[in-house]
Amino acid sequence: AQTVTQSQPEMSVQEAETVTLSCTYDTSESNYYLFWYKQPPSRQMILVIRQEAYKQQNATENRFSVNFQKAAKSFSLKISDSQLGDTAMYFCAFMKRPFGTSGTYKYIFGTGTRLKVLA
């Protein structure tokens, strides 16, 4: 069974600074996806960034980037130039790669890291 662990329940960062959120996972699968989702207070969860396990290059999306260490099963999120709007719960998630056009899949979420950006 797959598990996702986020060991930092809460973090804070000063506006414009950089912060890194940690995530480790456990799986015996070789084909999978990893994600970071953001859940702002009282708003829906949205995708921040995704990484395909077979790609060695780390994914980046504007100020968000990941450090994907497949052998260590580590998937951290770096937020550069933090903004007040980055204040949210951040969830790391794992998904086994489905097969074919009708393959089924499901996400396994970590427990989340609450990030507060300070003015």
């Binding site: 996702v4 996806y33 994600f35 009282s42 708003r43 829906q44 969860m45 949205i46 995708l47 995704r50 969830f91 998630a93 998904m95 489905p98 097969f99 074919g100 056009t101 009708s102 393959g103 089924t104 899949y105 499901k106 996400y107 979420f109 970590g110 427990t111 989340g112």
Partner: protein
Amino acid sequence: EAGVAQSPRYKIIEKRQSVAFWCNPISGHATLYWYQQILGQGPKLLIQFQNNGVVDDSQLPKDRFSAERLKGVDSTLKIQPAKLEDSAVYLCASSPITRRGADTEVFFGQGTRLTVV
């Protein structure tokens, strides 16, 4: 495009009462999920539909929870009777199936916050 719609946003009920939540996924999305998010925890999958068929309900407490997705569009999740430990946010999500296969991004609704007293 319109997002995943859920109603109600909030619900307070007494234990042993019943409650129902409604979800309308993004138009054209074949896969629909119901997640339970207890305070301080990550979302836990309760049930997953592909069109109107159930593909995973292994974590659904079937003695009290039920869900349906008639006609493969909107869905209803019911709890009967509710227990105190059912207090949580119930998230509905959907995703498309593209020509490449199942897409990986899941789109979430705002959730229904249930409080059982």
